[in-house]
């Protein structure tokens, strides 16, 4: 139900207070509802975004070029899912290295997560061997915009209460327990009591609000908590291009019994990643190569270029092939980023109109990302040569120390990562802050590593798991 006036709730003691209504917050509330447990979600934005509210998402970047923080996040009901692409690939076993939970534990929540994300069981994720070192996989898509899909559901719900345009101010409590939060709605301050509190405001906001809370409440938060450290995103950039003979690619699939239909047509992109052993052996970061196809003919400049650099390869095509269907391919890469302490979130001296400091994000690329891109793409190039499928050209910047342009996936991860102890993590395996009794963190800020899959599916699985965990307490 929608709460217009928080005064009616003053004496109400909700079981769970969820701060933030993005995919993580809503998924936890839905799981709690399934278990017939009441929760209240407070959302600083409205149903739709407004420029004034978006201004509060400002922040500055130190380091390499990074996307504008007001453009890559939304302060509204449903959060950034209103502008997300919808990719829902799972993280693999090896992506969860060092996490205090296993993929098996996460997969227990697959069924309900898929339901929340409208993931059809027909659209299955597959990962198959492409060569000794590389795998081929598909992308699975969700059409869910959390704001659109769940507003009416929550409006009618007996168990989920939603208060829009309600800004979190701070936590209050004693020793190791949060007793209530202060929040502001229509210029009036309210206290919300609860047994459990969940901070669920997104990759950067979780760290920002926690850093501020730690500064305000030195008696509640352990000063050793490494909040804001190990921030990550997914660097995305072009690594090269090439020429591919369609017939040869098809026969390679057939010879290697790669029979899944989505990859047999060049209408679709080809998605290739390194397998576990290759990543370990070469000490590289896992990456997804996004290979896109484009029809070209002999008059195309790119074809002429290949004819110059590899005349015998082109001659061979014309002498030996009946159908000369040639494609130009472009290869982009979406990469896991190495978790380093220097990539972090801290608080600025300048405060937003609600009195909370804006964040400063330190973000830098790492040489290992470039090295990983080069090794994986070179391996693909070798397969193309060995099987006469095509020839690839890699961008020169992969071979030198020069700076290179990247954009990012806008997948803000880390900052309040999970782990076994307070030395290198903020939350435990149940997403509860170390040395605190009843404050939980929800969302990608708890990721220990980013893998190369888009994070939302994992965010939802973790959120459902958190709902399930709280229902058992």
């Amino acid at each position: 139900m929608i709460i217009d006036d928080l005064r009616n709730l003053k004496e109400h003691n909700h079981f769970v207070v969820i701060i933030g209504s993005g995919p993580a917050g809503i998924s936890t509330a839905l799981e709690l509802e399934r278990k017939k447990i009441e929760s209240i979600i407070i959302e600083a934005g409205d149903i739709l975004p407004d420029p004034h509210s978006q201004e509060l998402l400002k922040g500055s970047i130190i380091g390499d070029a990074y996307n504008d923080l007001t453009a890559s996040r939304l302060r509204q009901f449903g959060g950034t899912s209103a502008i997300w692409g919808g990719n829902c690939n799972p993280m693999k076993n090896e992506d969860l290295n060092g996490w205090p939970i296993t993929k098996f534990e996460l997969d227990n929540y697959k069924k309900h997560s898929k339901k929340i994300l409208n993931l059809n069981y027909k659209e299955k994720f597959f990962l198959e061997k492409f060569s000794k070192n590389l795998n081929i996989y598909n992308l699975v898509w969700s059409n869910v915009r959390f704001g659109e899909k769940y507003f009416n559901h929550i409006k009618k719900s007996k168990y989920i209460h939603l208060s829009l345009k309600t800004s979190f101010i701070n936590f209050e409590g004693n020793d190791k327990t949060i007793n209530f939060i202060n929040c502001k709605k229509n210029n009036e301050t309210f206290k919300l009591k609860s047994k459990f509190f969940i901070l669920s405001c997104g990759g950067i906001e979780n760290s920002r609000l926690l850093l501020w809370s730690k500064e305000l409440n030195k008696n509640i938060f352990d000063p050793k908590l490494p909040i804001g450290n190990f921030y990550m995103d997914h660097p995305y950039y072009n690594v090269g291009s090439g020429l591919v003979i369609y017939e040869k690619l098809i026969s390679y699939f057939q010879n290697n019994t790669i029979l899944n239909k989505p990859i047999l047509t060049c209408k679709n992109n080809l998605y290739i990643s390194a397998n576990k052993n290759f990543v370990k052996r070469k000490n590289i970061l896992n990456s997804g190569l996004y290979v896109s196809f484009q029809n070209i003919n002999e008059d195309d400049n790119f074809f002429k270029q290949v004819r110059c650099v590899a005349p015998k390869f082109i001659k061979n095509i014309y002498e030996n092939l009946k159908i000369k269907k040639i494609h130009k391919i472009d290869i982009n890469i979406l990469q896991e980023q190495e978790t380093i302490k220097e990539n972090r979130i801290i608080l600025n001296n300048i405060k937003d109109p609600t009195g909370i400091p804006y964040p400063i994000v330190f973000w830098k690329k790492n040489y290992k990302e470039k090295k990983s891109a080069r090794i994986i793409t070179e391996d693909l190039a070798k397969i193309f040569i060995d099987n006469d499928i095509g020839r690839l050209s890699l961008n020169e910047n992969l071979y030198n120390q020069n700076d290179y342009d990247v954009t990012v996936g806008n997948h803000q991860m880390g900052g309040t990562r999970m782990g076994f102890d307070i030395i290198d993590s903020v939350v435990d395996k149940d997403l509860k802050i170390h040395n605190l009794d009843n404050l939980f963190i929800n969302g990608s800020s708890t990721f220990r590593s980013g893998g190369h899959s888009h994070p939302t599916y994992t965010i939802v699985k973790l959120a459902v798991r958190l709902g399930d965990h709280l229902s058992k307490l």
Partner: protein, 54 residues
């Protein structure tokens, strides 16, 4: 020659002071201007070829 040197030192010093003093103001003004780049730059290519390709 001496006059020119004096002028040069004076102007460099004033330019330096101006830069130093205006830095906090400039910083504040540009505080939230974030950089955003995409990979539009065209890089030189390195072809990975077979020994018999050319």
């Amino acid at each position: 020659m001496k006059k020119n040197k004096r002028i040069f030192i004076k102007s460099s010093l004033s330019l330096f002071l101006l830069t130093v003093m205006s830095e906090p103001i400039l910083n504040q003004k540009n505080y939230f201007i974030n950089k955003f780049k995409t990979y539009k730059k065209k890089y030189s290519k390195i072809w990975i070829l077979d020994i018999n390709d050319n």
